[in-house]
Symmetry: C2
Subunit: 354 residues, 2 copies
DNA sequence: TATAGTAGCGAATACGTATTCACAGTTGAA
DNA sequence: TTCAACTGTGAATACGTATTCGCTACTATA
């Protein structure tokens, strides 16, 4: 005589394949076949089953599916979170957003993990070794990363976005040609008549710093100029401080190439503090071409990294790794970047005779 | 005679409870008991099992676990993505980051979903009805949301961050007291001697716009001043355009309260274009107290929403909903916000006799 | 007409875990 | 001494799906 409805909690049970089968007067396996798109089901039977499914609003249980087929349909995104949290840098949001778009048509869903030192280990255990995710996107720029070794040992599908320095050709990765892009940006500044070009890098232990620094150096040396490099942390205060030192020291640069729009913002602040006008007294360029480039320094020249394309490449690569390991040697995919010139580097050209 | 090793793909098999049991010379169920923290296992047996687990680097299969216990340990985050993608607004990144921190000690992991119009439906089906997530955090400000009805119908655990307008007392939610905060910010501007205070809102269909507008109106009217409201989209260009109209129209405001740091940035740009100095000729205040407040307009007065606390409250609420539905009436939790005064509203006080 | 081939389908099983049930052995109180 | 309670355990089962294995009919070929 007991009512069962008031349990409230367990009531949320959901309908299963067996229920559908009962209603359609077929076996559960036939229902399953319809779901997996098996061709050997009579089209009329299939239609009837489908209609009953729709009618009862049936949805397969993702966990059962994952257990049986050992494929979860989840992709993990691992980003190293800068200490001090995310600054205004929209890189992370752009990335996430693009990944979701890239995955939209597929059978995969994004699952997020921000790594700080403390959660780092948990990612690997909780998500990966528990088979919760089918593959990993690693946003990587640290020169050393012990996780990569672990992933390789387990033959776990993963793609690095960025430059996994030590792992040269042993890892699938997608990146821009940062040295070339940095060289182009530097050459652009030189072509605009700037002569003492400084480089404001992030932490030098990070490969993206190293790569862009290299391109900068090459371009500067090729032009017979000398280089001057400053290092700072990935936050505004640090960038502003470094830029201030840079611009008040001896042999002050007349142009700065910053690693990042965030750091470039710091340079602009420093310049404003010092009363230096951009672009006349100081040229400025950087990387990312984020929205803020339209407002910083009256328009900030910046390298567009083509994040949508970068992400699409990474995702489709990862999916193919997950689905049928091509057993091909790992490749590094390079997505072209493009310099987006704006006012911050548009000084009147100062006669540079051919 | 066939080698089995070269399959390469299926090799990634992983060790199971049964394997552990065999090694420990106990039954699989005892191993399971150790894992679930069942007290009835002999401590010596348990120790031995644990040691074997550690030795063989065992990890329980998350999918099997989820299937059996109908609890996945995943929490979904649903954010409505503004069209045009994320601008420089760091709100999303702050949120995500804080959620991960809040979940760090718990047994839950974050799983992300950005909703655009097209993926909206898929969230509900793929993640929720497939039982992939145990609960949902909904970042909500639309006045109407059909998803909430669906969630309620299925008695699915979810918590709204923000104000789910129509759903008054029928939904668990966590929010700031936006009317009060807006009133405080407005009163602050008035106390600093500003007299014609404009409000730059986002889209008015959004509850956060409505709530802050209300507080602004109350404060302005209480001071015997008149209100003037402008609406714009959630992007810099739109804000700048609206602010320009605002500041060039008749009866130009001498202070602006913006809905958001992003919109406030647009106001600053417009002011700069028009040669209006902040704070002397134009007072400015907004909401979010993001990092950029330290650099906009020489320091932007902004309401700190206390996102860490907001998020912690939402997460622990959600977890308790998931674990044992308290069958208590839904509650709206209000986290106090605090006005962070900076230079942008710090005009010399112009004699306002008591 | 006999046989090979094939389409369609149900029974059974596997995936790895959590949980229920029963049972043996021990303890403790009557 | 007897029986009840308790402790620690293994066998069995369930979770919902995908998949393998045969079996039945039916068609095509000879």
């Amino acid at each position: 005589m007991e009512r069962t409805a008031h349990r409230g909690n367990k009531t949320r049970q959901g309908i299963t394949q067996r229920d559908i089968a009962r209603l359609a007067k077929v076996s559960q396996s036939t229902v399953s076949r319809v779901l997996t798109g098996d061709e050997t089901v009579d089209s009329e039977t299939a239609a009837s089953i489908r209609s009953i499914m729709a009618q009862h609003n049936y949805r397969p249980d993702g966990n059962a599916r994952a257990l049986r087929s050992s494929r979860s349909g989840l992709i993990g995104l691992v980003v190293k979170r800068p200490q001090g949290g995310f600054q205004d840098d929209p890189f992370f949001a752009m990335l996430t957003s693009e990944i979701i778009d890239a995955l939209a048509g597929s059978n995969y869903t994004l699952c997020l993990e921000l790594a700080s030192e403390s959660t780092q280990r948990s990612i690997y255990d909780e998500m990966l070794r528990s088979r919760r995710v089918d593959g990993l996107l690693l946003v990587e720029s640290a020169a050393q990363d012990e996780r990569i070794g672990l992933l390789q040992r387990d033959r776990f599908p993963f793609v690095v976005i960025g430059n996994p320095a030590g792992e040269g050709g042993t890892v699938w990765s997608v990146d821009n040609d940062n040295p070339a892009a940095a060289a182009e940006a530097t050459s652009h500044l030189i072509a605009r008549g700037y002569r003492r070009i400084g480089f404001l890098a992030g932490p030098l232990g990070i490969t993206v710093s190293q790569d862009r620094l290299r391109g900068y150096r090459e371009a500067v040396e090729a032009a017979g100029l000398s280089s001057s490099v400053w290092e700072c942390e990935f936050n505004l205060e640090s960038a502003r401080k470094a830029a201030t030192e840079m611009l008040t020291g001896p042999d002050r640069p007349d142009a700065v190439l910053a690693l990042d729009d965030l750091l470039a913002t710091g340079v602009e602040l420093a310049a404003r503090d010092l009363g230096l006008s951009i672009p006349d007294e100081l040229g400025l360029a950087s990387f990312n071409d984020s929205k803020r480039c339209e407002i910083i320094a009256g328009g900030l020249t910046s390298v567009n990294l083509n994040i949508p394309k970068l992400v699409k490449a990474a995702c489709s690569l990862l999916m193919s790794l997950i689905e049928g390991s091509p057993d091909q040697a790992p490749t590094r995919i390079i997505v072209p970047a493009q310099l987006h010139v704006r006012a911050s580097s548009e000084r009147q050209i100062q006669a540079v005779p051919a």
